[in-house]
């Protein structure tokens, strides 16, 4: 007999879990990355907590926390009766947008110092990724 093909909702962002970091942080980071890279555009539908949990095989409470954090940062909008959409309202000032990066930059700097790299190495790596995603 012909085996049934199980349907999987494709998530609109990519994520390969790495061990070592909490799952919550990894998901939030992947979504932000997808928005900045344009894979998720303003007005795009964002998966529900249920789909997020099932597709990523994560605890529903973790999925809920992810959506709540992204709504709180105004990257997602909850539209009653429609669902959760990628927001088009960006934080108004450049300063506010820069603040969104704070934690991630700190982590990169900590990592770089542990690896005994200097700022030129970091700048060069940033440059590379910047051109890759532009």
């Amino acid at each position: 007999m012909c085996p049934m093909i199980t349907s999987t909702h494709m998530l609109p962002f990519q994520l390969q879990f790495k061990s070592g970091l909490p799952a919550y942080e990894q998901v939030v980071y992947s979504v932000k990355k997808a928005i900045i890279a344009g894979a998720l555009k303003p007005g795009d539908r964002f998966p529900s907590v249920r789909v997020l949990s099932q597709e990523l095989r994560i605890n529903p409470n973790t999925a809920h926390k992810v959506v709540a954090a992204l709504v709180n940062e105004r990257l997602l909008d909850v539209k009653p009766g429609i669902g959760t959409l990628v927001a088009d309202a960006r934080p108004s000032t450049r300063e506010q947008r820069r603040e969104l990066l704070g934690d991630d930059v700190e982590r990169v700097v900590v990592e770089a110092k542990q690896l005994q790299l200097d700022i030129e190495d970091v700048m060069q790596a940033v440059q590379q990724h910047w051109s890759r995603l532009s």
């Binding site: 085996p3 199980t6 879990f17 061990s19 095989r57």
Partner: protein, 307 residues
Amino acid sequence: MNHVIETHNLTRRFGKTGAVDNLTLAVPQGSIYAFLGPNGAGKTTTIKMLLNILRPTAGAASVLGVDSTRLGPSEFARIGYVSENQKLPEWMTVAQLIEYCRPMYPDWDKAFCEKLRGQFDLPPDRKLKNLSRGMKVKAALLVSLAYRPRLLVLDEPFTGLDPLVRDEFIRGILELSDEGNWTVFISSHDIDEVERLADWVGIINCGRLTLAESAAALQARFRRIECVVSETARLPASLPPSWLVPEIAGHSVCVVESLYQAGSSEARVREMLPDAGQITATPLSLRDIFLVLARTYRLNNPSESQS
């Protein structure tokens, strides 16, 4: 907080051997509770007492608000249970198994059952004895999910499953996440299997509960602290008891602080290691926390370290 499972000094001895020793734990409603411990720690014995398969020697447990020794059909109709050594009526086909189980559960959801059967890729006309181990486990899960139980108890469900089946299994469990008051109690000897699934963790070792905490609380209090010291530096003989698995190698010291508080933990490091520079504190994954705890317990168990 509402607790779906509660035990008080739950104890079971087999002859003179204590399998479970004064176990007191509480499983909050809505949680996915990982019950972790090495093989032989007492996980299965605990689960059997929770489900009235074994009588406690002492102590008590309540499940869905009912004393575990009084659990009856109306409670079992709301509990799903899959164990590592699940016995299935091997002569039945998948469809017959479904029809056999359905009348026992007033809340059986036929459409949901059929959806899961498709997802699990279980052919209805295949005899259970002709199914692979992974397919059998999926069949057992199927007939435990189809009535949307309020409590799902899984005893080492992933043992011997290949990664694909394990993934389907987890996906199946999460199908229930629509239910508002839905709780999962899952035992495992391997944190990797449940790391991203669990939001509560209980660790049992030699029949005793050594830790029971929410994953969020654990991740908040554990930090890996690293710092650079001079090459001649030595760790002081007496270190804070909250410092686990301290290591010194060349210029760097690494400890896991189990009671981390931003600022004061770093100050403590400077107190202990006056020449410490570049102190960093990084969060740990649930898996790393479990591995640190496992190492700590073993080191502190003299009977094992002598052998």
